[in-house]
Amino acid sequence: MPKFRLRRRFTYISAAILAATLALAGCGSDDDAGAGDSTLVVLNGLGGSPGILAIYEKLNDQFESENPGVTVDFQTKSFDELASTSKLQLSGGSPPDVSQVNRGYQALGAFAKGGLLTDLADYAKQYGWDARRSESQLQLNRHSTDGKLMGEGPLWGMDATTAWIGLLVNTEIATKLGIAEPPKTIAELESQMQKAKDAGEIPMQFGTGNGELAAWLLSELLLAQGGPGAVQDLVFHKGDATFTSPTGVWAATTMKTWADKGFFAPDWTAYKTDQVIANFTGGKGLFSLTSSRFMPMKGTADETRKFSMVFFPSVSGQGVAAVGAGDIPWTIPAKAKNKDLAAKYIDFVTSEAAAAQFLAGGAIPSKPPAGADAAISSANLPVPSQEAVSNGLKLVGDGTPVPYVDWGAPELYPVISSSVDQLLAGSLSVDDFLGKLQEAYGPFVKSLEG
């Protein structure tokens, strides 16, 4: 039967293909390095961000030319991938030489506890990294070796760039409404939002399709009322901080009031963060929360001139503080093969020369290089980007950058994002909302104390 012969042939062919592919698959190994050369494996979580990747490409080329014989193997993953799989890499026998690591008790903290990272104290002394960052910046990369205390203990990583959360203003709409200056106090913000609402504009562009904006808003409101201490105490587990404090109550009540007054964009539950920004850029909304990472914004200089990025107001209107904790740091895994070279790389990307490069590309270095202001204007960035950078530098310079409140406990981020939805929609009261957050936070804090 012809069909049967065909079948047999098919079986033989597929067996052959299978054998070949299995052979290829099983012995797939890479043989990069030539004799005498070294390869520096650098694992990053910058996938999907072409702007900053371009800057690192330049930096890597420069590093290679300054260190002949060295090849930088820049392995790019998306942030989500890095956050979910770095545990696997770092615990293996051949981790990368340099790796970005996510912060948090369940990430950097767990790695510190597990002995998977190299204490950078000696390198920091050798290269003078302590002078490059303020203590409040270095603090965020510290974690005690028992994993229990964030913000104390050895230094595990150095961040090269920073980002901060601020308020985007559509100055065109503002002018139309007769608003001359961006709000400095919460009261001003509320009255401006009311004006917008009365005129039929969307006061605050918002969306909870992802959890970020909810977490940012909560962090900024806690900061606005309670100052940097309010957030820092929660994150670093100091002073018996709880979410059910008066500051917490104020923050939750404020959010709820804004929702009840219709200040948020309609159907906010349906929009993810990037859609929110896209909507805002499309002209809908007087204000929006944003991260400096959304800069540069889409559009020509003329089109983006009408947007402005300013600090989120506080109750008192005093002081320069914002949520902004530096991008995830570069660390040296404990089992890395080329530690000295890795340290050299970290030193390079956190140096002043690199800072100038970041600035030129529109990113915010963690420490402003000399002549930053001139550099910003000559970088020819669109207006909101310039403000993002200059305000960001002000923040790390004289101001107080504050961590994100969801760092306080591993479960906080998902709980905040789902509970804010329910609070704003009215299905959770302020007390129940804060109770939920405390439930996700309190037991964790207690478990670490024990």
């Binding site: 039967m1 996938g47 989500d80 051949s94 859609q275």
Partner: protein, 274 residues
Amino acid sequence: MKTTRTHTAVGQLVVTCAAALAVVPLLGVVIMSLAAPGTTDSTVRAGGSLHFGNFADVWELADLGKALGTSFTISLSATVLTVLLAVPAGYALALFRFPLRNLLFVVLLTGLMLPNESLVIPLYFDFREIGLADNLLGVILVETALGLAFGSFWMRSFFRDVPAELVDAGKVDGANSFVILTRLLLPTAVPQLLALVVLSFVWSWNDLLVPLVMLSGGREVTAPMSLAAFQGQYTTDYAYLAAAALLTALPVVAVYIALQRSFAHGITSGAIKG
């Protein structure tokens, strides 16, 4: 054949509508793939200029050629292995009597129910100890195991419904079980086998989680993993994402189109006829 003309027309209309409903959402993705690069707005807007160059761009940016090749290796190998193992397994479970037969069937079936999300990390650690982590062979083995659960169920289902006369005819002729399987039963199983091939291929191709974890330490990237190149922490380049996603879906569609003819045309009822 007593089919009325209206019956045929209604049938035609219904199926065409169903096909249209199936395709319309995907058309949105096609339009999205032609939008300007750097579009972070997930709304589909027709009417802008069409950027056909997106496809070439994403091919380079995400190194799609390599990713597709990797996916092919994995899916092809896993599919062939699955079929080679599932056919005898289904045969045994359907047509042989041995102790614990039903229990073993249920055991295999549970493969469909195991939660990848909670298994895959410990599995990675175990594989690492035996050198199967961060290489394709490990992924192929896991995908095969996952495909076996359905494969053996599927083939058992086929073999149970095979006409008794067919088997008896073979026994009468003195054929042993292997001959019965390969010469009498398998030729009638072509549609079923091809359906299994298509399904195994699709599942192993679209699986994001297992390769993501199993290959996390290496350089290999599968087609679905490569889409992450366009998904930043806060923003997604929807134009490039859509273009890349379409390109990674093409091979599977091609496999389906190539094989569907064979199970489109019916088969004869096998060796029993006439």
